[in-house]
Symmetry: D2
Subunit: 365 residues, 4 copies
Amino acid sequence: MSSSWGNSIRISIFGGSHTAAIGVNIEGLPAGERITWPEILKQMSRRAPGRDKTATTRKESDEPRVLCGLLDGVTTGAPLCAVIENSNQRSKDYSQLKVLPRPGHADYTAEVKYGGHQDVRGGGHFSGRLTAPLVFAGAVARQILRRRGIEIGSHVLKIAGAEIGDRSFDPVGVSPELLDRLSNEYFPVIDPAAKESMRQSIEGARLSQDSVGGTVECAVLGMPVGAGDPIFDGVENRIASIIFGIPAVKGIEFGAGFSVADMRGSENNDPIYMENDGSIRTRTNNSGGILGGIANGMPIIFRAALKPTPSISREQDTVNLADRTNAKLTVTGRHDPCVVPRAAPAVEAAAAVAVLDLLAQSRML
Amino acid sequence: MSSSWGNSIRISIFGGSHTAAIGVNIEGLPAGERITWPEILKQMSRRAPGRDKTATTRKESDEPRVLCGLLDGVTTGAPLCAVIENSNQRSKDYSQLKVLPRPGHADYTAEVKYGGHQDVRGGGHFSGRLTAPLVFAGAVARQILRRRGIEIGSHVLKIAGAEIGDRSFDPVGVSPELLDRLSNEYFPVIDPAAKESMRQSIEGARLSQDSVGGTVECAVLGMPVGAGDPIFDGVENRIASIIFGIPAVKGIEFGAGFSVADMRGSENNDPIYMENDGSIRTRTNNSGGILGGIANGMPIIFRAALKPTPSISREQDTVNLADRTNAKLTVTGRHDPCVVPRAAPAVEAAAAVAVLDLLAQSRML
Amino acid sequence: MSSSWGNSIRISIFGGSHTAAIGVNIEGLPAGERITWPEILKQMSRRAPGRDKTATTRKESDEPRVLCGLLDGVTTGAPLCAVIENSNQRSKDYSQLKVLPRPGHADYTAEVKYGGHQDVRGGGHFSGRLTAPLVFAGAVARQILRRRGIEIGSHVLKIAGAEIGDRSFDPVGVSPELLDRLSNEYFPVIDPAAKESMRQSIEGARLSQDSVGGTVECAVLGMPVGAGDPIFDGVENRIASIIFGIPAVKGIEFGAGFSVADMRGSENNDPIYMENDGSIRTRTNNSGGILGGIANGMPIIFRAALKPTPSISREQDTVNLADRTNAKLTVTGRHDPCVVPRAAPAVEAAAAVAVLDLLAQSRML
Amino acid sequence: MSSSWGNSIRISIFGGSHTAAIGVNIEGLPAGERITWPEILKQMSRRAPGRDKTATTRKESDEPRVLCGLLDGVTTGAPLCAVIENSNQRSKDYSQLKVLPRPGHADYTAEVKYGGHQDVRGGGHFSGRLTAPLVFAGAVARQILRRRGIEIGSHVLKIAGAEIGDRSFDPVGVSPELLDRLSNEYFPVIDPAAKESMRQSIEGARLSQDSVGGTVECAVLGMPVGAGDPIFDGVENRIASIIFGIPAVKGIEFGAGFSVADMRGSENNDPIYMENDGSIRTRTNNSGGILGGIANGMPIIFRAALKPTPSISREQDTVNLADRTNAKLTVTGRHDPCVVPRAAPAVEAAAAVAVLDLLAQSRML
C-alpha cells in the first residue's frame, strides 16, 4: 500500500502534481487534541516553493483545507482529512516524458510499472509536491507531541560544494530552544556563515544549470524511555521506512551512523551515568538515543542524505521508448537547484508522524 | 508488532538467546517451490558462531527443524515454520543485567519497557542469535528468487582499523558469478589482501579486549523493472525497515548513498541508454537501481553500517538500577570481537525476504 | 485503524454527517482500468436519500468529486481519492445528544470513547451517510470486477412486518441478468408483490412513528476458484469484516447460513459433479460458494440482517449524562423509517471491495 | 496473510493435521502477565478429541510446549510461541483426496489454489486440528482478560435434530458464575435436559453414518465501555473476522442478530437507564453490547452457526479430477459426528483473542 504509513496512527497521502487536489488522511489520532492553525501554516510555509532564490520560483497554493476530523480546532477522534487544491492544473505538454524518460526521475520505472497509465504531469504521484500533505500531517503530529514534552527540529548539515558545513547537533546537549528556533526557519542552519556558504553553492549550481545535494540532520527530544520495539518495529526501522518516503533520500543513519564502522566498541559504547536529578543518561550518544530499537531517553538523532534535484536544464542522455533508440533530452521548466532546505520540514514532519505512531504502538500515547 | 515483517510474504521471528527454542514462521509463500536443504544449511552455517577466530568461540546448534509448510521438500502454500532448539539453556546468573545495564545493549531500555519482566539471559529477544531464523527465512526466499532470475550477495566492505578496505561492487557490472562466490563464503570479501587486513584488525581488537565495527555491501541482481511502489512502500523503505532488524545496524544507504550529498545533479543523474540487446540501462548507477521507489533493472546496491559488538570485557561505566548510583561493570563471557562477517549472511537474508515481499506486493511473483 | 479496510486494495473512509466533506481514498487499484462515470452515479443514486417515501425526505448532494487517481477516466495506479461536499453544514443544536444519548445509537459509547470530543452532529463519523463513500468505492471496484467476469447484485429479502417476503436467490442458478436488473434498481426486490408488501410495512411503521428492520441477500457470480485463503483471510472472514462496517448490520450468514445448525451432513454437503462444459459444480450450494475460506466457483451468497433505524420519533427512555439521572428523550428530524432498501447498494459495494481485495491478496488480479 | 489475525495483539497459526507439529505464535502480549498452566490445559482438554462418544475416538496429544515468551510462567513481552507435536504422522494413503475431492471439504478449492502442492493429509492446514493452537492462544488471552475483569463463556445452544434446545443467555443478566461453570465443561449446555437431547441427536447421527450441525452462543462480560472502533474495526467486525477462522462456521449474529429483521425500532432499541450503583445500562440488550462498533458495557453476546461435519461415511457424489468424470466417494476413518461441543472452547478462545486485541487497539490494555 504504497502511500500509507503507520501502525496505530496512519497517514495516507494522495494526489499528484497536477491532479485536482492533493491531501492526506490521518487515522488513529487521539481525540481532544487542540490543533493550532498558525502552527500548521508555519510548517506549510517552510516547505512551500517560491520563497527564496535557492528554490524554484513556481508559486503553489499550499493552504490546506480540513474536510473533517477537527471540530472547533480540536481532534474528534475520527479521521482527519485535509486537501490542498492544485490551483494550476493546465498542463503543458508532458507527453514527452513517456517517450524520453528523464535521468534520475521515476519516468521509466513508472512507465513500466503502470503500463503507460501513470500521470506524468509534473511527476504525478512521485512529485516532491507530495511532501506538502506530509508536512501537514507532521504539523498536526508535532503539536500533539509537544503537549507530551517531545520536540523535533532539524537543520541543513551540508550542501554539496559549500565550503563551510554546518556544525552537527551536540548529541547529548542539543536544546529544545535550538530546535524551536530552527523549526521556525526557512532553510534552517545553525551557523550563519555556513548558511551563507551553502547559499553560494546553490546559486553557483543554479547559474550553471545544475543542482546540488545535501544532508539534513534531525533531532527528537523528550522521547520517553521504552518507546519502540525490538527487531522490526524499532525506532530506527520505523523512522527509516517513513524518511525514505521523501523523494531524493538515498541514505539514513542514526547516532554515530556510518562512522560506527570506523570505531572500536570501547569508543562506540555510550557510558551510562546517573544525572544529579536522578535521570539516567549516557555521556556520549553514539546510539542516537536508541538501543535494541527502543528509546533510551537521550536525544534521537539521525541524518538523511538527499540527492541533487534530478531536473537540470543541461542536455542529458536518455532513450526514446517509442522507437527504442538512444536519444538526448533537455528538461525545461523552473526547478529547485537544491531541495535540501525545503526538505528539512518534511524530514521533521516524517519524524513527528513516526514518533507519534511509535508512542501509540508502544501504548504510551 | 515488533518481530514480524512483510506485507504479502510475512516472517515472524520468535525466541530468545536462552529460550527453549527460537524460530520463524513464514506466511504467504507460493506453493510448489522446491527448497533444497543443503542450501539452507550453507546459509545457516555462514552465520553460525564458532567457525573462525574472528567470532565468538561459543558453539550453537543451528540446525533448523521444519515443523510444517514443506512436503517432500516443496512448499505447500501453508505457513512454513522452522525452529532451532537452544541446546544449552542452563544459564549462568544473568540477574546482574537487570541491575547493571551494559552500555551499548538494550538492557536498560528493555528493563523500562517490560517492567523487569524481559528475559535478560544472553540478551533475550534482542540477542544476535535471532538472526539465525532470519537467515533461515532468507535461505528459503533466495531459492524462490533464484528461480526467477534474482541473485543476492554481499561482502564485508570495511572493518574498523583495517588498513586495506575491500573494493566496492561495480555498481553497473557486478556479476552473478561474484555474488555466487561470495554467498558461499564465511567472511566474504572480494579482495584477499583486504580480508587479511580485516582479520588482523579484528584480532587486534580481540587481544585488547575490544571489538570493531564495519560495513556490509549487498547487491541484488535481476530485480524486475517495476517492482516496488512510490512513497512509503518503495524498495528503499522496505529494505531499510527490515535491515534495521539486524542488531548493530546504525545506517543504510542506497547507490551513491551519503555521497549524493556531495554531488551535483549532472554528476548524480545516471544517463540512460539502450543496450545492444534492447534492454534499457544506465551508464552509472548512483540510484542503486531504484527510482521513485521502483526498481529500474540495474543492480540494487546498498550498504549497511554495523556498530562494534557492545560486549567487551573492559570495565565500563554504568548505573546501578537498584540503588540508583553510578557503577562499574565488566562484561564476562565469550563474545564476537566483530559481528560484521557473520552479519553478511543476515543482510543478504533480510534483502532476500524484502525482495520476495516486494515482488508479491507488486503482484509480480 | 477504524475506518480503513483491505489488505492489498485498501479503502479509507473519512468524514461525518456535518463535516465539510466526506470521502474515500482507495489505494492499490490496478492501473489502466477505465471507470465509467454514469455507472458511479447510478450506484450513488441508489443509496441517496429522498428518492422514495420509504426513505428520509432529506436531500443530500451525493455527487462525488475525484481529486486524483483517474486520468481521462482511467486509473493511474496512484491512490484514487473522491470527496462529496456536505452542502448543508449549518447544524441545528446537537448538544442534547451529548447529554441525552439516543437508544440504539452510538451517542453514549462515543461520548465515553472520545471523552466528549466526538462530532455528534447528525451522528458524526457513525452516520449512515458514510455509506456514500463506500458505495463510491464499490462502484469503482465492480467495474474492475465486471471486466474480469465477476458480477454482484443484491435484493431486499425481508422487511419486518411485510406479509410477503421476497424469494431467495436460486443458490445454484442465480443469473447475471437478474443481478444486473437488481443492481440498477432503487429498492431491489425480485418479486413485485413482495416489494409492495414491504412498502406497506415501511409505510405503516412511518405512520406510527416507528421503523422496521430487514434482510439483504447478496450474490457474487464469477468468483474464480481459488480466491481466498484458509483460516483468517477466507472469503467469509473478509466479507463479514467489511459488511459489519455498514451501520445497522447485526448478523451475516453464508450459503445455508444459520440453517446449517438444523442440518445433517448428508443434507448439507453439496454433491460435486462435472458439468457438460467440463466445469466442476455442486448440485446444491449450502456452502455459499466457499469451502475452507476459498471460492469453489459456485455463486457466493450471503445475507445480512439490518436492524430498524434507531431514530424514531416516539418518546424513549434514556439517561441524562450531565446530572446522571433517568430521563426521557424524543428524537426529532426526518429519518428513514427503513434503511434496508438504501443499504442494498452499500452491501453490494462492500462485497465488491472485498472481492477485489481477495483477488489481489490471492494474486489473481 | 491467511493464518495470522490481529492488529495490536497478533496470533499466527501454523501447521497441518499431519505435519511434524502445529502451533501458534502470539505477538504483542503485555509483559508481566502470569499464565497459569492448568488453566491452559483445561481449555486444551475441552477441545481435545476422544473424550466423549459425541466426538471422534481419535486420540491426539494436545499438550502444548512453550518455546519462548514465558519466563517462570510470566510473559516477557517477547513473542510467545507454543507448539504441539503431531504424534502420529504416519499417514494412510491420502492421494485419493487429490483425485476425488470430498463434498463439504476444501479438497477441490485447495487443489486449484495450490496447484496440487497442498498437504492433503488429514485436511492439512484446513484441519479442525488447527483450532488447538487457537484454543491455546485463547487460554492465554482469557487469563490476561480475567485480571481486567473480563469473563468469557459459551454454551451449545442448538444441535440439529435435538428435540430440546438450550435456553439462551439472559442478555442483560448472564452472570460470571454461569460463564465460569460453562467454561470448565466439555460440551457446555445450560439445561441438562437439553444436553441429553442433544447427545441423543448426535448419537442418532453417528449410528446412521451421518453428522449434525448446531449453534454456539458466547458471552463476554466486563468489556469496558469505549472498546472498539467505528466502521471497520468495530467489535462486530473484529469478532466476526476471527470467528470465521473456525472451520464449519457459516454465520454469526450479535445481540438480537437476525431477529432484528423482524423488529420495529421501538422494539429493538434498548432503553437506557441509570443503575442504582451509578452505572449506565440498557433494559434489553438487542445490541449485544455493541453500538457503533463500540462496547456499551452490557454483555457482548453473539451466536455462531456451525455446519455438520462434512466427513460422513455414506457414499457421496463427487468428480474424479484425474479423468474429469463424475464419481462416487466413501470417506473412511473416524470422524466427529458433531463438532459443535468441541467448537465451543474454540469460539471462546477466538473471542478472547479478539477482545484482547480490541482493548490493545483501543489503547485500553
